[in-house]
Symmetry: C2
Subunit: 238 residues, 2 copies
DNA sequence: CTTTGTCTTGCGGGAACCCGCAGATTTTGC
DNA sequence: GCAAAATCTGCGGGTTCCCGCAAGACAAAG
């Protein structure tokens, strides 16, 4: 068995290396990459079928790297190992995992034991392992208690990029009014109408406030914004 | 000499511990804290005069912890050790460092050698050590080439929180028009008028776009937003 | 004292946003 | 196959935003 480690922090990288060695004695080769860019290249070159991947790296983050790896070989087993369980990351991962692929999501705050268990479960048993906490976020994100629909999320991203209603309507092939409808749903779900103190109406610019709340709740994060910005520029110049 | 380490990542914490031991043989006591909250308490309890502090921790981040520590003992020497050199962090740090205090700012990507040198310089020689890259950000942030004035930055934060022009005017004791003036300066400095492709006017909601650009350029980050949000709620309920 | 520059404030208008209402269209459940 | 529910769409209005124009306030330089 051969394992590829993609992680930009040297300390964490060597810790991971150690953990892989300990948890997977049948592993006879460990390759390290220090960002998503070189991670993709390494995976392609060596046809790696087992990857441990950090999210949030410079150059190219884990989600993008994982997407291209899976696009080339959908049976690759990937264990995500991340600091945070931001809804934006969780949503980003579930968005790209192909049909029937096996993957895992473990937080860096998890114990040694949990990490090693996850390594064995995912790589040897081909079993999906999602950290308890991450699972919670996933649930909330899907069950529309306070979670956003995909449609709503897309609108949120477009708004956050600074696009006009009209521009969004054009991009999404919708009428102006439909975009505004979606926006209103968004405002409700994000509790934008909650005022800090009553007696102050008109204190919030709803559009901006919605994005602020999304950022504070980690529904959006800057990494997701960067990704969206790049897509926007690409599609714009096409 | 006694040193307090405030860092939430266990790996980095023990690495730091090691580095302190190696660089400062005269140090006879090292205390560790795993977030800003307990860092403050520990500093107060043990009257620590030397602190190594991570920025970006949960609970209470490094900037807030440093502020309260410095408020109680302005002669405390603090070495910030951070992953990023976001303008938001750099600005946040320079905003709270008291008159004549000695501090340092080193990136985690720096070499072993650089870290140890910084430890000695700051703690023993009482000399300020600012990482080259961070220094660059500082310059750019002050020299108004593309840097924002404090006034502009404050407006930016208020806008990013989702406040209306009127609300900002009231908070800042300005007229409506003055707020809008500052906003326009902001729009120019953030190049909001740059269109991805020409022939599309009215594609951007300037207010939102300005915040998006600020986030993408790391002039703002979510940690700064969280801080501002807390201040807003506090001042609102007062 | 005058001049020049920066900062503030008011006015006014065009554009974008927010949203209730109501009809048309699509999706869903049975 | 049909009714209920959810979505999409156009209209109209009230509000906020964006910004050019211009008049006052204040400080620094000539």
């Amino acid at each position: 068995m051969r394992v590829l480690i993609v992680e930009d922090d040297p300390l964490h990288r060597s810790y991971l290396h150690e953990a892989v060695r300990a948890a997977l004695p049948e592993c006879d080769m460990v390759v390290e990459a220090e960002n998503g860019q070189s991670g993709e290249i390494e995976a392609r070159k060596s046809r790696m079928e087992h990857v441990v991947m950090d999210l949030q790296m410079s150059e190219r983050n884990g989600i993008e790297a994982a997407r291209t790896i899976w696009r080339e070989r959908p049976d690759t087993k990937i264990l995500f190992w991340s600091n945070y369980s931001d809804e934006a990351y969780v949503r980003g991962v579930s968005r790209i995992v192909p049909e029937g692929a096996t993957y895992g999501y473990v937080l860096k705050s998890a114990s040694d034991e949990r990490l090693k268990l996850a390594l064995r479960s995912v790589f040897v048993e081909s079993q999906c392992v999602i950290d308890r906490e991450v699972r919670g976020i996933q649930q909330k994100s899907l069950g529309n208690a306070h979670g956003l629909t995909d449609a709503e999320y897309e609108i949120l991203v477009d708004v956050a990029l600074g696009l006009t209603d009209k521009a969004i309507a054009q991009r999404k092939r919708l009428s102006l009014r439909s975009v505004q409808n979606r926006l209103q749903q968004l405002y409700e779900k994000l509790d934008v109408y909650d005022l800090p103190d009553d007696g102050m109406e008109g204190w919030y610019n709803l559009r901006m406030r919605a994005v602020a709340v999304a950022l504070l709740r980690k529904v959006l994060n800057s990494s997701a914004l960067e990704r969206a910005e790049r897509e926007l520029r690409d599609s714009g110049s096409r």
